[in-house]
């Protein structure tokens, strides 16, 4: 084939590739844009026409739905609950997981590797398995419906991944560093807090982001274990879905508000998120 012919084929091919990716990109963006625009329209406009009509009539856009939503006590309370559930569930998993990960990586005790493998085996256990037993258990000990109960549940199911990820990361810490610290007279706790935790930063960040998003976005666990006073935003919105159609002015801004924090975390910590996803490809 002539050089010119090859050049032409390459041009056409790269044009096709670009066109294809552009269309796919639109496919991925349009649903979210639809939600965003829907959240910025009045109920009257929502029932009268499609969200894409704003491109011809931008004057439709209004923050009224958001204003009304944020005046709704149920919604703001549930946002607070989401934070009250997510932050402790993340911190506890990171802390407890680090303790265990360090022990599995650097301490010696009988059956260490078997204990660790047992924890790894729990990685794929579906949360569904625990819903009924834990609901009954929490019912007996009075944790049912409480924020603390949901936090505990998330910590339990976050731990296998946390221990797995952190043990592997801590095991890579150079022995000399730990020995040097030890020679300087550092005790067990000091070694853990001053050497291991700081060196584990990247893995801890990945874990924290992963766990944060997982708990923030959870609906099923909260649906089972919370009540009207302790429900997070996902559950509060879920109760609205049953009347889907005439309450898009609540659902669309509500869904968007619930997405803002995860998206901000996602964009701010992309790299850590991706490495967490890679490590968690077995979950």
């Amino acid at each position: 084939m002539t050089t010119a012919g090859r050049w032409l084929i390459e041009k056409v091919n790269s044009g096709l590739v670009r066109g294809f990716l552009l269309v796919v990109g639109l496919f991925w963006l349009v649903p979210t844009i639809g939600l965003l625009i829907s959240s910025l329209r009045s109920p009257e406009d929502l029932s009268a026409s499609g969200w894409w009509t704003v491109f011809g009539k931008p004057s439709q856009l209004t923050f009224d739905s958001y204003r009304k939503l944020l005046e709704n006590g149920d919604i703001t309370d549930s946002l607070v609950n989401t934070v009250l559930i997510t932050v402790p569930a993340t911190l506890l998993v990171v802390f407890i997981g680090s303790l265990a990960g360090y022990a599995f990586a650097w301490m010696e005790f009988p059956g260490r590797d078997w204990w660790f493998l047992a924890v790894v085996g729990l990685l794929v256990v579906p949360v569904q398995v625990a819903l009924i037993p834990i609901a009954e258990l929490f019912g007996k000990i009075g944790l049912f419906g409480s924020v603390f109960g949901v936090v505990l549940f998330h910590v339990g199911f976050g731990l296998p991944f946390a221990v797995f990820l952190l043990r592997n990361f801590f095991a890579e810490i150079p022995r000399e560093l730990l020995e040097a610290a030890r020679l300087d007279g550092a005790g067990e706790l000091r070694l853990f807090f001053r050497v291991v935790m700081p060196l584990g930063g990247p893995a801890i960040a990945s874990l924290a982001i992963f766990q944060f998003l997982w708990v923030w976005n959870d609906m099923l666990v909260a649906l089972v274990f919370t009540n009207a006073d302790s429900q997070p935003i996902t559950v509060a919105l879920q109760t609205q879905v049953r009347q889907f159609g005439n309450n898009i002015d609540v659902l669309a801004p509500g869904a968007f508000i619930s997405m803002v924090i995860p998206l901000a975390v996602f964009f701010a910590f992309q790299r850590q998120f991706v490495s967490g996803v890679m490590a968690g490809a077995v979950k």
Partner: protein, 430 residues
């Protein structure tokens, strides 16, 4: 084997491990045992039920639908998501804005399934004036199939027309030289065709059939002059008119913007028909969330969420593929497709397997998307095991059967559990 640097006492190790092991024991291990035991007991939990609850897995209509749908999910969702991820990962390497593209496709992973569910509930709205899926679908459909313009039109008072097979037929035959009037009523003003002009009385033509078809209704004044076009009345632009003799169409035409039409002399003595195609309801698109499409539609939303996951993992694998291998194949004269098929895909096989298996486990647990997207009317048709477990356990008060479903789900993931442990055993032994 690594040796402890700290000369740890066993009690210290135990203290470090205790919180994690207690929580795992109470919240993960204990429930597994409890579920297994509970699955052999009846509804109240007092009577031993043997394998009755497991029998229900295969006899209960709801669970059977859920099983069937789970099979569809497990077969299609992971494979399509992985295939798309592979295609995206390979193609994004060839454009400069590949990173931006990856960001867009990966983004849905950060949001909740609830939010994704609401997003797609909007996308799949049946009304083409609200749901973007049907808006696009109807747009494409109407480009290829002529939309009918007058779904609500019907004869008014003292009309010369009579109903016939969904359309309308003149009561009398027509003849050349005498203009025909075909008045109808009932089309809302904003539903009139955009090109419609003021209706005019057709001029008589001795050699042809002429006439007018129009909306014989003047707002506020009733019909105006009954059976004759008034100045404010609009012609039925585009109305199809057929001349019928002995049941056969001998001539056909379409009305002009002012409602006038002409037919050749061959139509002399025929009766004129406004065929049913003029009056069909407009095409309203697909019932995405109806019983037959609801599962594929929800799988579509799942793929929207998870194709990015597959793409990112595969792209990372791709970065590890030695470029020289691809170049060598190209130098040997392989075209891009052959390079992809014979070199890239085999080298990526381990990554593709990990991604597919991960997604399969994930798909087994899918709950939120089905719970949110499937409307009450078709939720039974969209049912999956995780949803059925929730229903049986928490709204139908059937903890025995729900536990059996839980144990069944657990059995399905045990091979993967075993695989993970084996892979790691080799690593920790190193």
């Amino acid at each position: 084997m690594r040796r402890s640097v700290t000369g740890t006492r066993k009690t210290v190790a135990a203290l470090f491990l205790l919180p994690a092991l207690v929580l795992l024991g109470a919240l993960v291990v204990y429930p597994i045992g409890y579920s297994v035991v509970r699955s052999f007991y009846d509804r109240s939990g007092d009577g031993f039920a043997g394998v009755d609850n497991y029998k229900a897995l295969f006899t209960d209509a709801g669970i059977r639908t859920a099983l069937k749908n789970n099979v569809i999910w497990v077969v299609f969702a992971p494979t399509v998501a992985t295939a798309l991820g592979l295609i995206f990962a390979v193609l994004t390497e060839r454009v400069r804005w590949g990173t931006a593209f990856k960001l867009v496709v990966f983004m849905p992973m950060a949001i909740s399934m609830l939010a994704a569910g609401i997003i797609f509930r909007l996308v799949y709205d049946q009304d083409p004036d609200k749901g973007v899926a049907n808006a696009v679908w109807v747009g494409v459909h109407d480009t290829f199939v002529q939309a009918s313009a007058f779904p609500k039109a019907h004869p008014g008072r003292d009309s010369p027309l009579t109903a016939h097979n969904g359309g309308y037929l003149t009561k009398a035959t027509v003849s050349t030289g005498t203009p025909v009037a075909l008045p109808l009523v009932g089309v809302a003003p904003d539903q009139m065709p955009d090109g419609a002009k003021k209706a005019v009385r057709a001029a008589p033509d001795p050699g042809r059939i002429t006439g007018t078809t129009w909306q014989d209704f003047t707002r506020g004044k009733g019909v105006g002059t009954l059976g004759a076009p008034d100045p404010t009345e609009l012609g039925y632009a585009g109305m199809r008119i057929e001349a019928v003799k002995d049941g056969k169409v001998v001539a056909a035409t379409t009305a002009a913007d002012d409602g006038t039409f002409t037919l050749p002399a061959a139509a002399d003595g025929a009766r004129l028909r406004l065929p049913a195609s003029n009056f069909e309801e407009p095409y309203n698109g697909l019932d995405w969330l109806g019983p037959s499409l609801v599962t594929p539609a929800i799988i579509g939303s799942y793929i929207w969420m998870w194709a990015g996951f597959a793409m990112v993992l595969i792209a990372a694998g791709l970065a590890g593929v030695p470029r020289e291998l691809l170049e060598a194949a190209r130098v040997d004269g392989a075209n891009e497709w052959q390079v992809f098929r014979r070199v890239t895909v085999p080298l990526l096989a381990p990554v593709l397997a990990v991604v597919t298996v991960t997604l399969m486990i994930n798909v087994l647990k899918v709950f939120d998307l089905v719970f949110i997207i499937a409307p009450g009317s078709s939720q039974d048709d969209a049912n999956v095991l995780a949803l059925e477990l929730y229903r049986k356990g928490f709204s139908e008060n059937q903890p025995g059967i729900a536990s059996a479903i839980a144990v069944f789900l657990l059995l399905l993931v045990i091979p993967v559990m075993w695989f993970n442990v084996r892979r790691l055993r080799r690593e920790v032994r190193r």
